[in-house]
Symmetry: C2
Subunit: 418 residues, 2 copies
């Protein structure tokens, strides 16, 4: 079948179904989420059988062990998908919420009520669990969703869809609020990106190449996040133990994710007392350190950092380290090389803590906490569907609320405009 | 000079200046706004002299009297521009506002702080007063702005810019936070729309043709609003006098604007008692009525409405009228033909009032009030820079808050992630 025509057809179906979902009461949506969770558990055998087809193809295609691991629907992964859906069922429903209302001088009562965006298009890479996670968040927030996972997870994604559709068939929600693009060709993405009458928002998750491809080809607004070059700035007078713990945690607790720290900036007045301890901490954890000249002068045996290091997201056990003259130099470094993702200052100075929060306009700005907290779950948003490092619509971790917008509602008693 | 190069150069200047403005305290921004207002008053002679050049060209080019009127910088218009800037100075500054903070189980204190978007690109048609209005709103919200007005207002817009720059020269804010594109060629718009590294948001204001051109050519997110096909639904049991007043006001108080009503839907149970009165009211005000068959059966001498009428924004003393079977039929009509702008129900029924607010997802939804209140000033947002009928980032009238986004801020005491 013609790919373009089929994608358009799917998008039209999802759009129509999303109108029904937009008016579905919370209790009904929650029942559906729990039915979806139960379905994933009951149909584990079918999911794993389909997943084996992808794994066999992946092995034949020579995928790395790490990639095969991400692709595997183990018992544990399936249970986590089910639990995730139950957690989303337990979150408050943003739809219909009115945060405050205000009275106008003519007695009109005005407020803003949250409503769904409409239809979300998700484009992502190998992990098939994203299929259930994204479907759950979109359903709870009243949005239809069209999912386009990686070609290497094709059978797994179609199997997850089948199970979710079986669950929805037991509810009043039309199954077609959730669809998976049934094509492995890249053309399918291009076709999705042209459906601006049906899809309201595109969320790509994956490498920088995928995201650039989506941004360049989309006629639909894109929530994007190219990379996370996160900074820890250790200020003069910082508590040394606190700074050590935060640096270790931010770099090594999970180095392969976007909120891990990539660059440590150290105030020159604390460099001599702090850096040798930090370097030992990191070396003990097999972290490669790329250092500026001043850091090298204090700690021997480090790799020199070059200009490109300051803008690099290693996503690995590598970190760049730079001594800066003062607070302003740290802010300037972040402005020049940062990616607007997450930055933290370790300080004991009240004024600089407040100034850092005011002057650094990354999507998440912290004082005395690990960059690893830059995550929807950790910030209390419930789960997250993605993260935005551009400022339109959403900025930073994006949860259920980010999947909604607000309309103005007005209660009158016959007011007319003079 | 090469247009593309010059636009890029302007955009880079505005971006750099916007970084300074983002950190400028409210008091300083307010002083600048008042200096801008004073400048417009003092330099009225210069502004009108430059405006005469545009008016002479406009007359020679055969512009209509209405267009020449919109182009004229009369004493009254200049005073309104100055007053507008002073009003913006008096609004609360959204930048730096933290609406609420919440405590996480690990004691992290998390909040969202408002920050400017960066640089706004405004593309608009003839009225030169928009130049000062938009510059004021962007300055207050901490955004740089690049303005591209209509070619017929070229001298007027450049003169307004000169006066605003003179005023900014007396402050610490770099004058280049406000720039006007110094080219009349349409290519200048295309060039602006490619500056995605410098401009964060495009707001076009004008006819549907201009807006479509901008959307199709932009690599930058666009806040858009194609048309306003606003509905008044007169429910069974509505108070007849209230319904008459609201219809008259919504259609005739200012028919040339987007929040004027274009279609009146009338419940069949109230049609016989209400429609003859409404038709007399509108005829007495020279409104042409395009009616469905059932309306024609009740009121003689009306023009029949055809299918195209239901989707038409007349922006004139014309209205379409349709009798509907029930509440659901009214909702379905709005969903099919509406433009997601503004709809109002006139009703005395509690349940249907609440249901209308819940089920109609236009950007502004009202009960018992004229559609003419769908306006930033009337809703209490202060002034408005535009209106959005698409759901991303902003939906409905967009004021100072719509020109900002939020970053997450986090106060910690050394927390690390387990």
């Amino acid at each position: 079948m013609n790919i373009e025509k089929k994608i358009k057809e799917l998008a039209v179906q999802v759009k129509a179904a999303s109108r029904v979902l937009a008016g579905t009461p919370t209790l009904e949506k929650n029942s559906a989420l729990r039915a979806m969770a139960a379905g994933l558990r009951q149909r584990r055998g079918f999911l794993q059988e389909q997943n084996q087809l992808d794994l066999a193809q992946g092995r034949a295609a020579g995928l790395s062990a790490a990639m095969l691991d991400r692709l595997t629907l183990s018992d544990k992964v399936i249970e986590a998908m089910a639990t995730g859906l139950e957690e989303v069922a337990a979150f408050p429903d943003p739809v219909g919420e009115v945060e405050r209302m205000w009275r106008r001088p003519n007695q009109l009562l005005v407020g803003k009520m949250r409503i769904p965006l409409g239809v979300v298009g998700m484009i992502y890479e190998s992990r098939p669990n994203v299929t259930a996670d994204a479907a759950g968040l979109c359903l709870k927030s009243g949005n239809g969703v069209i999912l386009r996972g990686g070609s290497e997870a094709f059978h797994s994604n179609m199997a997850v869809l089948e199970v979710l559709h079986e669950a929805l068939a037991t509810t009043s929600i039309p199954a077609s609020v959730i669809q998976v693009v049934p094509f492995v060709e890249r053309q399918a993405i291009t076709c999705m990106l042209q459906c601006e009458a049906e899809i309201d928002l595109i969320i790509p998750r994956g490498g920088e190449g995928l995201i650039r491809f989506v941004v360049e080809n989309s006629r639909i607004p894109v929530i994007k996040h190219y990379k996370g070059v996160c900074h820890v700035f250790v200020d003069a007078g910082a508590e040394i133990e606190m700074a050590r713990n935060i640096v270790i945690n931010a770099k090594t607790q999970r180095p392969g994710v976007c909120n891990a720290a990539e660059t440590i900036l150290v105030h020159k007045d604390i460099a001599a007392s702090f850096l040798p301890l930090m370097v030992d901490d990191l070396k003990a954890r097999q972290v490669e350190i790329r250092a500026c000249a001043r850091t090298q002068a204090l700690c021997s045996g480090l790799v020199p950092a070059d200009e490109a290091d300051w803008a690099t997201e290693y996503i690995d056990l590598i970190v760049s380290v730079r001594v800066v003259d003062d607070f302003d130099a740290a802010i300037a470094h972040i402005a020049e090389y940062g990616s607007d993702h997450t930055e933290t200052i370790v300080t004991s100075d009240y004024h600089r803590a407040q100034e850092f929060l005011r002057r650094v306009n990354s999507s998440v700005v912290m004082v005395n906490a690990s960059t690893r907290f830059s995550d929807g779950g950790e910030l209390g948003l419930g789960a997250e569907i993605g993260i935005s490092t551009t400022r339109l619509h959403a900025y930073g971790p994006m949860g259920l609320e980010g999947l909604t917008t607000t309309k103005y509602i007005i209660y009158g008693d016959g007011q007319i405009r003079e």
